[in-house]
Amino acid sequence: MMIADSKRTPLTFDSVEPESGLRAALAMGRADIIGEIGASNLRGRGGAGFPTGTKWNLAAAARVRAGGAKYVVCNADEGEPGTFKDRVLLAAHADMVFEGMTIAARAIGAAIGILYLRSEYVYLRPHLEAVLARRRDEHLLGADIGGLAGFTFDIHVHMGAGAYVCGEETALIESLEGYRGEPRNRPPFPVDTGFQGQPTVVNNVETFAWVVCILSRGAGWFKATGTGKSAGYKLLSVSGDCREPGVYEAPLGLTVAELLARVGGEGAKAVQVGGASGVCVPASEFGRRIAFEDASTGGSIIVIGPDRDMLAVARNFMEFFVEESCGQCTPCRAGNAKLLEGVERLERGECSTGHLQELLALAETMQLASKCGLGQSSSNAFVSIVRHFRNEIMGRALAH
């Protein structure tokens, strides 16, 4: 078994010349680098889809507090169920990820980079450390990078310790600082008050890799693919009931049906787009587009075959959120447990229609009142399964 052997399509990253993005960046002014990223319409590849150029602009303008430095953090806490494209990138394209971080450092004026690696990927660490050591030898990290006097930047790896919520950027920063991974109130945002109270850019692994491609090939090249609101290509981690699971590079805006045809998942009953926090798309809606403005995903695509029990799917996701809620705010802590109880009632065939309506109202409360993205999105799967598969999940007889 090869850990990087999940690629099912050639990736753009295979063909972009190593260090060509960094070379281009070093010949540009800081504002021009950010301008190019902004012009490409690149949006964060971790799932939230915040415009990368805007984020960098804010961090570049933010002031460093006494005696500190700005930070560039790579979010490699790929915890969304069904996502594994960052694992493949880190195993096969670590240089490009570090190159992208170095470009970000140049753009915002950061001196220190941190790769926050989830502990489930601990086996990647020796490889990543070796790549970093080689980059230092090649003067691609350290002092006067690429011969540019005064440009000093280095990256170290910091291990996570097993908490899904740390994929949320403020929880990630709490974890980096040695605290429980409980999300912070925003504002202030990390671009202004991030790690150690300093301006910090936190981007997903894949985002940094695309930065390199954009600087190497130009914003126009990137923008030419995708939709108006979702430019470029996206890596999709495909798993579940299909013949060819793995990592695919696809233009944003492709339909679920088109993707299913590519991965050998025709005949699926539903597709979970965006992992546990995403939405369940039923077969009748396979014309929906995978894009930020429609069925949005940080990469997770789970194909659900015709014989699967949708209530078992809902249970799996609710168990996940009960386990992973940080417990800080009540809507999320108590709400997820209540929804799981509801799933159990449905399994026993003891859920009244009225109670199901109450659960949907609770789900809406959780979406509105939770503090962070985890609680705001944890009921999505439950709600979409109830909406589309009501007839399948209600009125069950007790198993004997």
């Binding site: 990087a4 169920p81 489930e120 086996y123 291990m159 097993g162 495909v238 386990e323 940080c326």
Partner: protein, 177 residues
């Protein structure tokens, strides 16, 4: 715990702290290194770490109990973490789970009485295209079948003792790429 053992643990923690620093941001790396060496982070160890980093022990406990990979109680020298995500469920993780329970003689969330093996669920191991996936310390196993469970446990037994201090393996089956 014997005084000699306590002393050794204390010395170990001081050595780790000297290496990783006393900043609050070093807390999790210190706990991780400690766990790697001793398989668990005991109450006594948390007290010593708190003293070394100038924190209240409750702070250290709060952090330790928050993270799945640091959490108490004793997890065993080899911690088996079976992925419970939907994709691994589709590939038959329940039968692998059952066989792990049978062969280790413990349930999920438990450790064997000799402290060698712990059994835990993992939220998602990010190996969804190759499930069921299992992480044992720093080694990953993919496409695990009930039949293979015995062989995986045996592999751990063989490395126990001689390499116990390294607590398992750091390599990946077949290499990175």
């Amino acid at each position: 715990m014997l005084v000699g053992q306590q002393q050794r643990l204390q010395d170990d923690i001081r050595e780790i702290v000297a290496q990783l620093g006393r900043d609050r941001s070093a807390l999790i790396p210190v706990l991780q290194e400690l766990q790697k060496r001793h398989a668990t982070v005991s109450d006594f160890a948390m007290q010593v770490v708190a003293d070394e980093l100038g924190l209240h022990p409750a702070e250290v406990y709060g952090v330790t109990s928050f993270y799945a990979f640091l959490r108490q109680p004793a997890q065993g020298r080899f911690v088996f973490r079976l992925c419970r995500t939907l994709s691994c469920e589709f590939e038959g993780k329940s039968r692998v789970a059952r066989q792990l329970e049978n062969d280790l003689g413990i349930g999920f969330g438990q450790a064997t009485p000799d402290g060698r093996f712990g059994l835990e669920w993992a939220s998602c191991l990010g190996l969804c295209d190759q499930g069921p996936a299992l992480l044992v310390n720093e080694r990953v196993y993919t496409r695990v079948t009930p039949e293979r469970v015995h062989e995986i446990i045996d592999e751990c037994r063989r490395t126990f003792g001689a390499h116990a201090r390294q607590a398992g393996h750091s390599q990946v089956e077949g290499g990175l790429s």
